[in-house]
């Protein structure tokens, strides 16, 4: 599903150049649930941004579902993001003045889908994350876990090939974190490819494969035995 070869990325910090990714080789097959770990500054978020087409690599190749991702202009990048990727953020990033269902339906809006159909689809995913009753609530009326579940529903709404989660449990307490992980595992069990960036080992243990990043290189890439979050909830 994802093929990365020899990826380099450096940032210009004033006169200094900060080499963040120093040759990443990495591939993810369909249906995998991968966590990317590393201390802060290891380049894991940068990697996720490049995977998410929010940022572009300096050199190296990136194939998503067999399609080369390079030299994208903003218009095409936006289209690819909309069609192929779903984002889950640490700070949820819901639009504050839109209610839950409108937030979920937003990616569909950018696909040009009619309002009625958007709401239908949005409701489907909202009930999938167990929040059908909260559809008309604004984000500030929801708890952190609920917000993240709305965000997950939103990420799923456009039926992407890959879900990218950047510290999805970073702003949540342990119990809520496990609830969210349970949801993510459930989605993965249905066959969705998911990448999670995290620095919490217990969260990483709930994935099927852990990739360790340090100073811009992968130092470790192991398949692990998945711990079901449901066991803790």
């Amino acid at each position: 599903m994802i093929e990365i070869k020899d990826l380099h990325k450096s940032y210009q910090m004033g006169s200094n150049s900060l080499h963040v990714l120093k040759g990443i080789n990495f591939s993810v097959k369909e249906g995998e649930l991968v966590s990317i770990m590393g201390s802060s500054g290891s380049g894991k978020s940068t990697l996720l941004n490049i995977l998410g087409m929010l940022d572009e690599a300096d050199t190296g190749s990136y194939f998503l579902d067999g399609m080369p991702i390079k030299n994208l202009n903003e218009k095409i990048a936006a289209k690819y993001r909309n069609q192929f990727l779903g984002f889950i953020f640490q700070s949820f990033n819901l639009i504050t003045y839109k209610n839950a269902i409108d937030n979920v339906a937003l990616p569909l809006y950018y696909q040009g889908i009619k309002r009625k159909e958007r709401i239908e689809k949005g409701m489907h995913y909202l009930s999938k994350v167990g929040l059908a009753d909260w559809a008309t609530h604004l984000p500030n009326e929801l708890s952190g876990g609920q917000k993240q579940r709305v965000a997950i529903a939103r990420a799923l709404a456009s039926e992407p090939k890959v879900l990218l989660a950047d510290e999805p449990t970073g702003a949540l307490d342990t119990k809520t974190s496990y609830e969210v992980m349970e949801l993510i595992q459930g989605i993965n069990d249905e066959g969705k490819t998911i990448l999670i960036v995290t620095h919490e080992p217990d969260i990483a243990d709930m994935t099927k494969r852990i990739v360790n990043l340090k100073d811009g290189v992968i130092i470790d890439d192991t398949i692990v035995k998945q711990v079901k979050a449901a066991a803790y909830v």
Partner: protein, 421 residues
């Protein structure tokens, strides 16, 4: 582009901070308000002044004799002379492009002695000896009877057309003047018509106290011979009297043995030139109105641009989220542009409505006030064209106002936009 969601988002964004939106909108409102009011005021002044010209055909000049200021062909300077009736024919022969040439004579004058009597009533009135065409050059409205015709001219009939003011003084008891006789300097004339005249240079009262008699009978009755007091000459519609003026004066100079370079012998007043000067004044006035109005409008538009920049800054993160979810740069840009155009048009329309409302009120007041006929201000108004131009200015300026903020909105990379808190 024009779907419900986009509009609800525009409204959400604009209503998020009512006070700020209102202040911003006021800038544009005020600009367009001032622009329309200024243009309407200019138009009102123009209408008022042009009304002062009355109904006189503006492509007209008046020409009279003065004294020769240069000796010529053995004739001394300081010589007095008069136009003769023959001059009319020679002008018509030698200067093409003239519509009417009316020789005129006059008795009496402003504060003249009583010269007209009827029974026991007397009065001092201007008495003109005229050709029928004069009614086309200095129009009067015949209220009863008829005006002078060529039958009167040919037969030298002693008939008179009197103003309503004359009628009031000579026929005080509401008697019917037509068919009755009045005595002008002892000569009896039969009244054949009455008239009223539109306001002309503010002497509306004086204008109603005039008497028109046929030119030929006037000359005979009052011993004018073939003398002509002055002439009113109107050019054809596609000619300019100002251009023909020199040729006309040339003809009478030759006829009366005046030095060709004697500029003082023939006096003239070119109504067309005056009219053009006034016209020019109003074109300049209009220009000033546009200049001032557009500048004020511009400051309003800069205000909108400014606010949109702030809005974009405030919404950086939101824009980042939208772009992560697949909003194309044009979707973002279009949103900002629509917002700014919407705000400009709404506030601009309000401005137009408010200013036309004010103009309507002023018009009402002017109508209700009888004295307003004599003021130099009438019927302030704006063309639909002006409104249309204002709208075009508004839409383009709304677009311009949104352009920079919209560019700012998409310049930030989605990743940077997401990081801002």
């Amino acid at each position: 582009m024009f779907n419900r969601d986009q509009w609800s988002e525009i409204l959400e964004a604009l209503t998020a901070n009512w006070f700020r939106t209102l202040l911003t909108a006021f800038g544009v409102f005020w600009g367009i308000f001032i622009l329309v009011i200024l243009l309407a005021a200019g138009k009102g002044l123009e209408n008022g002044v042009k009304q002062g010209f009355g109904d006189i055909a503006t492509n007209t000049m008046f020409m009279w004799t003065q004294t020769a200021s240069k000796p010529y062909k053995g004739l001394p300077k300081g010589r007095r002379f008069d136009f003769k009736i023959g001059d009319v024919a020679s002008i018509r022969d030698q200067v093409p492009g003239l519509e009417y040439i009316s020789p005129r004579n006059r008795l009496g004058g402003f504060r003249g002695t009583n010269n007209v009597t009827r029974g026991l009533n007397t009065g001092a009135f201007n008495v003109f000896g005229d050709y029928p065409e004069i009614i086309r050059q200095d129009p009067i409205s015949i209220t009863s009877g008829r005006f002078i015709n060529y039958g009167d001219i040919g037969n030298r009939r002693k008939v008179a057309v009197i103003g309503e003011g004359v009628k009031k003084e000579l026929f005080p008891d509401g008697e019917e003047p037509i068919g009755d006789y009045i005595k002008i300097q002892g000569v009896s004339f039969m009244v054949i018509g009455t008239y009223t005249k539109r306001n002309n240079n503010g002497d509306a009262e004086e204008g109603q106290k005039e008497i028109y008699v046929p030119f030929t009978s006037f000359s005979q009755a009052f011993n004018f011979g073939d003398r002509v007091g002055w002439m009113a000459i109107t050019a054809k519609d596609n000619e300019s009297i100002s251009e023909l003026k020199d040729d006309i004066i040339e003809v009478v100079k030759t006829n009366h043995k005046i030095h060709p370079e004697d500029n003082r012998a023939v006096g003239n007043f070119d109504l067309y030139e005056e009219f053009n000067k006034v016209n020019g004044l109003f074109i300049a006035l209009n220009g000033v109105a546009y200049f001032v109005g557009v500048l004020i409008l511009l400051s309003g538009i800069i205000g909108i641009s400014n606010i949109m920049l702030i809005v974009v800054k405030e919404r950086t993160k939101e824009i980042g989220i939208r772009r992560a979810l697949g909003a194309s740069p044009w979707a973002v840009r279009g949103q900002i542009l629509l917002e700014s155009i919407f705000l400009t048009i709404i506030s601009g329309m309000t401005g137009i409505a408010a200013s036309t409302g004010i103009i309507y009120l002023i018009n009402k007041m002017l109508e209700g006030n009888p004295d307003s006929k004599d003021t130099m201000f009438a019927n302030p108004s704006v063309d639909l064209v002006v409104i249309f131009v204002a709208l075009v200015i508004l839409i383009t300026s709304g677009l311009l106002a949104g352009l920079i903020p919209a560019q700012v909105a998409i310049k930030t990379k989605p990743i940077d936009a997401l990081r801002t808190e």
